[in-house]
């Protein structure tokens, strides 16, 4: 929707005088200053006071990310300790950065209850762009974006996670699974 912004605002004589408006602006900042200054004192004495400051001391305190947040993709682990993944390779194809690498394994009757399962599943987080396409492509609800974004490392090779590192119990992913059902159900996949 296009709308027109009038940038030639006619100022009143009070605004043109400039100094009263400066003082008004300064009063706002000074009010914030004193309000926060006195709000700070109980805070520094160790009491957690309801304050208007939303700063979070990051490494010590962390915030809960919203459920739509796309952190590193993880694999869902069923209750019977087997991956939900069937190694169809759709996420591998959907991945625009080619960071997913799946070696599929077929069921010979002994190794696995499922017909198909991934023998190896690696995601290279050094390449991953956190787009969430793998999650969208997955027909089995097996790969999900988690809220974990702290994956910086000193060694690039360690950024390549194998299946043991990727698997996360389904119970931990419940909210995200529900979110994806709502999200991608909209387009009737």
């Amino acid at each position: 929707m296009a709308y027109y912004v009038n940038r030639n605002v006619e100022m009143t004589w009070w605004e043109k005088a400039y100094i009263p408006e400066i003082i008004r602006g300064m009063l706002i900042t000074v009010r914030h200053f004193f309000k926060n200054l006195f709000g700070f004192i109980p805070f520094f004495l160790g009491k957690k006071k309801e304050r208007e400051i939303f700063t979070v001391y990051y490494p010590e305190e962390t915030m809960d990310y919203p459920i739509a947040y796309r952190g590193r993709p993880v694999l869902a682990l069923r209750e019977d300790n087997l991956p939900e993944c069937v190694a169809c390779g759709l996420c591998e194809i959907a991945c625009p950065a080619y960071c997913i690498d799946i070696i599929p394994g077929a069921n010979s009757g002994k190794q696995n209850k499922d017909e198909r399962f991934p023998k190896a599943f690696t995601i290279d987080y050094a390449i991953c762009i956190f787009c969430g396409f793998c999650e969208e492509a997955c027909p089995e609800e097996a790969i999900f974006m988690s809220d974990d974004c702290e994956i910086s490392m000193l060694d690039r090779k360690k950024m390549k996670y194998d299946m043991e590192q990727l698997l996360v119990p389904v119970a931990d992913l419940k909210d995200r699974i529900e979110f994806t059902r709502k999200m991608y159900g909209k387009w009737n996949y």
Partner: protein
Amino acid sequence: MDLFSFTDEFLIDLGLTLLKIGFILAVTVGFFAPVLTWVERKQSAIMQDRIGANRADIMGFTALGLFHIIADALKMFAKEDFIPQGANRLLHTLSPIIALVPALLTFAVVPFGGKYELWGHQVNLVISDLDVGLLFVFAIASLATYGYVVAGWSSNNNWSLLGSMRTASQMISYEVTMGLTIIGVLMVYGTMQLDEIGAAQENFWRWGIFLQPVGFLMFLTASIAENKRIPFDNPEAESELVAGYFTEYSGLKFGMFFMAEFIEMVTIGAIVTILFFGGWHIPFIETQDIIDTFNFSWLGPSIANLITMGIQVGVFFAKVCFFIFIQMTIRWTLPRFRYDQIMKLGWKILLPLSLVNIVVTGIVIMLLK
């Protein structure tokens, strides 16, 4: 007095002068310059609903972020002292000094207290009681322009040169206003000696802010513009010129520019206090009243004078702190002017206003005679 005869009087004078110099250096370089870096961070943070610097700690103790001062100093010492290729090495090294020295030198004539009678000796709390004190302040303050211009020119960098050109034009434009504003004050008090101007404001209703309200506003504006802080920070506009004239400076040379800015803030606060805000006087209380209050039988007049001196120096620096607070508030409230707006404000608004101020002051003085 013979110049080389070391009489007692001479030695006492020498000692007192050295004490005063030491006091001023300790207060400006040792206290205000470092603490103001902390104040600026913390005040801006609290003003903007943030917490501000508080991560530097010694043994887990942060002291509200005061250790950031030490961390900053250590960082500046440890940095590479970089001189860019094609720069004028001599001028590049010299210009921070040229910028810093005038900021300190103006304090030579700024009184931070009145005259006190201590054990039969007259103590005047000003390092150098010049007859042309006010002119001296402006002469020295305008020298600082050279530091900034030379800094930009010598570092062989386009941004620096643009910054220094803007510095030159801005400082020259606003010095005109500043000088003309001062004339109103001179007409009212009839002296250029800063300590006499301060002493003349003992009566609350004789403060410069009541006698020269327009002059006060214009002087504050012009002096903030002289100091090149936001909203007049075109010479170092971060979003346009990287860092303006000190783009190519690092380490302690950058620290000197930084320190010059903060000391200039103190200087502005001190001069505004002396000229417009009653100097070292407490409203409605005369100096003699304070002396009489403390003049008990067993204390003696000298001790009473000493206590009064302490109180009045404290009052003076409290006022200076108030003006620093105002400057910081302005700096964190207002956005930067555009270059043409600065020039318009300087030449088309402040200059005519200051001329009108002189005329009106003259007419009023004539009528009151």
